[in-house]
């Protein structure tokens, strides 16, 4: 028995899956002031009459951190930065309470300027004096050598042991100092609230006799165990669109190159599957306008949905952005996009007579035929969606490439189907697919695809390893893990791959996802010979291995 719950901004969806059967679905308004309450209400409704001891997995996709970061009611947090030479400091002056400290590392992980303890102490004293309790420390190139960040942390711990500290190298070890400091900053800022929340969830589940594994959905479409998520609150942002995309993957039969559209009441979220894999945003998730190191799906959100209200003015039909209520066919007062499609194609959604009535009244106001009005609405909707889809294709096709091979072979997105999910997709997506001359798939249970996606998403884990045999070390982008290697030129790619795989396995074990470690695949294999003079003095390897987003082993599809 599996449970998936996706908390959205307006509604929270839940689904209970037993084998291939959707045993229950629940949709409740979200109480943004009490997410735990909302989740438990949905859970209780799903479990009504069920035996809680049979639940084997609960997956939650929540908006807690997203809301927290959006509403701005956040605890004061300090940033200690060691930027070294390069861009001007103002580029990194993104947040209040930022302190710049001496100390620098270069791209080979060499310390080129030491930490000055007195300056760290002075900054720590100021932080404490300001009553700030949370500190993020980030150094440029700390992903190649985390030593300076750790030194700074140790000094702070000694002087002000009560300060809560997060290191950039632990939380965001990929290249890009700016994204690292942003990620570390928001992580330490949200960590305590998130930890309290997951504690409450764990308690509430236990008190209902649910002793199942509890996982949290991440922005990358994978899950992590509740207890692991405590250290990585920011990875839970934007899990909603990820839930929908994974739901589409679960419901559509073997999608390859597909466009997934989740059309809800007032928004449409578009994502892409390329060769069966969801496309990631090339620059990571954006929080408060800043890029981060959080892997997230590339999602284009349009303020356009089934409940978007229609109006007329100057003989033109307009589609409003603000929801006024339900579609007329469901008893709403004003005609919406859904009503126009309902009328145009005789879709039998809700009460079609009410759709007809509402659009006719509006058409009379505009002095046009109801059919003409509906066609114009269709054109507007299709044009907007089509434009957004082609823009996404182009953006993907025009992503920079750094190898001759990639540029020569180019990229072309040849897609063959649109998968529509979300409550309003059945009305709109078939017409869109016809217009783009591709197949249309509206799977069963499309309305709760998001909750289902959360329910059956498998864990994900990505590890990048950087090995420098000239300087005799390796580092990963996870938790500052690293070690030594033999210097010289002997190491071959095979050994580098093994090192990466070993790291992934160990991390997977730590994070209780070892069942999927064998399915990890390499997505990056770079090797450079370091030539000094005219001979090879070492090698640099960059290897990436990941448990990619996918579906849990137990999932066998759903049947009506």
């Amino acid at each position: 028995m599996l449970i998936g719950i996706d908390v959205g901004g307006t509604f929270t969806d839940g689904v209970l899956l037993t084998g291939t059967k959707v045993a229950a679905t629940v949709k409740r308004p979200t109480d943004n002031t009490d997410l735990k309450g909302t989740i438990m209400e949905v859970l209780d409704r799903l479990m009504a009459g069920q035996d809680s001891s049979r639940v084997t997995r609960v997956v939650l996709s929540t908006t807690l951190v997203t809301n927290m970061l959006a509403t701005g009611n956040l605890p004061a947090t300090a940033l200690l930065l060691l930027p070294g030479p390069g861009l001007p400091l103002e580029v990194y002056q993104l947040f209040p309470n930022t302190f710049f400290l001496p100390g620098s590392i270069d791209f080979r992980g060499r310390v080129t300027e030491p930490v000055v303890p007195a300056e760290v102490e002075s900054a720590a004293d100021q932080i404490a004096a300001r009553g700030i309790e949370k500190v993020a420390i980030a150094a440029k190139f700390s992903n190649r050598n985390s030593e300076l960040e750790r030194q700074v942390r140790d000094i702070i711990n000694r002087r002000h042991p009560n300060l809560e500290v997060v290191l950039g190298s632990d939380i965001a070890g990929q290249l890009n100092f700016r994204r690292r400091l942003v990620t570390a900053y928001f992580s330490v800022m949200t960590q305590a609230v998130w930890e309290r929340f997951i504690g409450e969830i764990a308690f509430a589940l236990a008190s209902r006799g649910i002793r199942a594994e509890v996982d949290i959905l991440k922005a990358d479409g994978g899950t992590m165990p509740l207890e692991v998520s405590g250290q990585r609150p920011c990875e839970t942002v934007f899990s909603g669109p990820a839930a929908s995309t994974m739901g589409a993957v679960a419901l559509a039969s073997n999608p390859r190159n597909s466009v997934i559209i989740d059309i809800g009441g007032t928004t449409s979220d578009i994502s892409l599957l390329i060769d069966g894999e969801p496309l990631y945003a090339s620059k990571g998730a954006k929080i408060q306008g800043h890029y981060t190191h959080i892997k997230a799906f590339s999602v284009c959100s349009l303020p356009l949905g089934g409940d978007s209200p229609l109006s007329v003015g100057d003989g033109e039909v307009r589609i409003g952005k603000t929801r006024l209520g339900e579609a007329a066919c469901f008893g709403g007062l004003a005609p919406t996009v859904t009503d126009a499609f309902n009328q145009l194609y005789g879709l039998q959604i809700g009460d079609p007579g009410l759709s007809r009535q509402a659009v006719t009244v509006l058409a009379d106001q505009a002095g046009m035929e109801a059919g003409v009005l509906c066609s114009r609405v269709e054109n507007l909707v299709i044009a907007q969606l089509q434009q957004a889809i082609t823009d996404m294709f182009r953006e993907w096709e025009e992503e920079p490439a750094y190898r001759v091979w990639e540029v020569i072979h180019g990229r072309k997105f040849d897609f063959h189907e649109i998968v529509g999910i979300g409550a309003a997709s059945a009305a709109i997506v078939p017409a869109l697919a016809r217009s783009m001359q591709v197949e249309c798939t509206i799977p069963d249970f499309a309305a709760v695809a998001n909750a289902l996606g959360a329910c059956v998403a498998r864990p994900t884990l990505t590890v990048k390893v950087h090995i420098d045999t000239q300087n005799g070390y390796w580092v990963t982008d996870q938790e500052g893990r690293g070690g030594k290697v033999k210097t010289g030129t002997k190491m071959q790619m095979e050994e580098a791959l093994n090192l990466a795989r070993r790291n992934l396995k160990e991390l997977a074990l730590d994070r209780h996802m070892q069942d999927y470690a064998d399915e990890a695949e390499f997505f990056l294999q770079e090797q450079f010979n370091v030539i000094r003079g005219w001979s090879t003095s070492g090698k640099i390897f960059d290897v990436g291995v990941q448990i990619a987003p996918g579906l849990i082993k137990d999932y066998q599809g759903v049947k009506r």
Binding site: P85, F141, Y291, V404, V407, I408
Partner: protein, 449 residues
């Protein structure tokens, strides 16, 4: 705010040979630095994807022997193509300026291409310049070659072109490859004075180069009034470069680019892959994007050490005086040439391809047209590294040529391909009509691009 365009193309899967300076590793640490700084995320920067130049784009500049395919790899198409992408973006006003941070380089490649010279097969800047003219109708363009080596390829390509001001400053040719670029190399008889060389003594530092920039390069540009300025941006003037002996710093390069304010910069040489390139490239980007670069410095930078490396002020003052005079006297000198050579002007030259060990013999004949820069013919012979010997005849008709020269060029081509002769290939480069013909005389097969 208009952005600065950037194409970063490190060609991580291309090298001349595994241990050659022009190898995969060359821009690896530049990648690290730019990506770690988050340069691509800056609001001032717009990153573009590399493009591909067409064979026609290459034939607009080069006579590739025997054909374009034989002289290039795919990497060259990407490198040159990326410069074209930046050029388009500048011309379409998507960006205020742009930097093609690409390899392989090109500034030693000359009009006729038998092989690789100084790590170059085809000339990225020249291909871009002729493309800009053809696509956007530009005419007057200045190319400032800031590589430590003399840009002899670019110089040769525009030697007879009065609308291209080519300025190269470099380490004195008596002490460095390719051994040319002296002050008396001033351009052909119809384009005298628009080739300006500024040989600099070894150890010239930031102060020295900036002095020359302020008192010679910038005044020349001001008087020439180009529609566009291109920086042929080598980075081997850096104090740590292993192939040269200058004392320029990353800050120095940034200042240079701020002053020069090129519309387009294209990467050339620079082989201090760790100590210079990451910082110099960052400096150029920051200067072009108008970002404060005062926090930029190499880890081993020592202002005091570099300041000691000074060169006599007299040397700079003398060269400034000489070259300003040469430039300002160019019209008179061209009139003089026209009087002395009323019909045509012929000369022979020998060109050495160091990378491939090829020696080429050329006979050049320039039509001394009174209405245009004049078409020219080049007889060229060379034994390639595979030991094939090639005798070719090339006709080059400039973009802004008069109808008479255009007709003449076509007539010579028709005549040459109609009769037996010693040539394996006969080429017509008709830039005015943007048609590029090549006749394989042995197999009687004509290729038209």
């Amino acid at each position: 705010m208009k952005q600065t365009g950037l194409i970063f193309f490190p060609a991580f899967d291309w090298a001349i040979s595994p241990t050659h300076p022009e190898r995969e590793e060359r821009l690896l640490y530049t990648r690290d630095q730019l990506f770690e700084e988050g340069v691509m995320d800056l609001p001032q920067i717009r990153e573009y994807k590399s493009g591909l130049a067409t064979h026609k784009d290459i034939a607009r500049v080069h006579f590739c022997v025997p054909n374009v395919e034989a002289q290039i790899t795919e990497a060259h198409l990407v490198s040159a193509g990326s410069a074209l992408v930046i050029a388009d973006a500048v011309m379409n006003q998507e960006i205020k300026n742009g930097f093609a941070l690409v390899r392989p380089p090109g500034h030693h490649a000359m009009t006729v291409a038998h092989g690789n010279r100084g790590f170059c097969n085809i000339n990225n800047e020249a291909i871009m310049v002729e493309y800009l003219r053809k696509q956007y109708g530009l005419r007057k363009i200045a190319i400032v070659d800031t590589d430590v080596h003399h840009g002899d390829g670019t110089q040769e390509i525009f030697w007879h072109d009065p609308d291209i001001l080519f300025i190269s400053f470099h380490q004195d040719g008596r002490t460095l490859y390719p051994g040319s670029g002296f002050t008396d190399e001033l351009g052909g008889p119809q384009a005298y004075g628009t080739t300006i060389n500024i040989p600099l003594p070894p150890n010239t530092n930031d102060a020295g180069i900036h002095y020359v920039l302020d008192h010679l390069v910038m005044p020349l540009l001001e008087e020439f009034e180009p529609e566009l300025i291109v920086n042929s941006a080598g980075q081997d003037n850096h104090y740590s470069d292993p192939l040269a002996n200058m004392a320029f710093s990353a800050q120095g390069y940034a200042v240079l680019n701020q002053k020069l304010a090129p519309d387009i910069a294209v990467l050339e040489g620079g082989y201090s892959v760790e100590t210079a390139l990451p910082y110099v490239n960052l400096g150029i980007i920051m200067a072009m994007a108008g970002i404060d670069y005062s926090n930029l410095r190499e880890p081993d930078y020592s202002a005091a050490r570099l300041a000691k490396k000074s060169v006599s002020q007299d040397y700079f003052d003398q060269i400034i005086k000489t070259q300003m005079a040469n430039f300002r006297g160019r019209e008179a000198k061209i009139q003089d040439y026209r009087r002395r050579f009323p019909d045509d002007y012929a000369y022979s030259q020998q060109i050495y391809y160091d990378t491939d060990g090829i020696s080429e013999q050329q006979m050049v004949r320039l039509q001394m047209c009174g209405d245009c820069p004049g078409y020219r013919t080049i007889q060229s012979s060379a034994r390639h590294s595979g030991w094939e010997n090639y005798e070719v005849f090339c006709i080059s008709v400039p973009m802004y040529s008069c109808p008479k020269c255009q007709e003449e060029g076509q007539r010579i081509y028709d005549e040459m391909i109609g009769k037996p002769g010693p040539f394996d290939y006969i080429y017509l480069q008709d830039r005015a009509h943007d048609v590029y013909r090549s006749m394989n005389t042995g197999r009687k097969v004509e290729t038209v691009l």
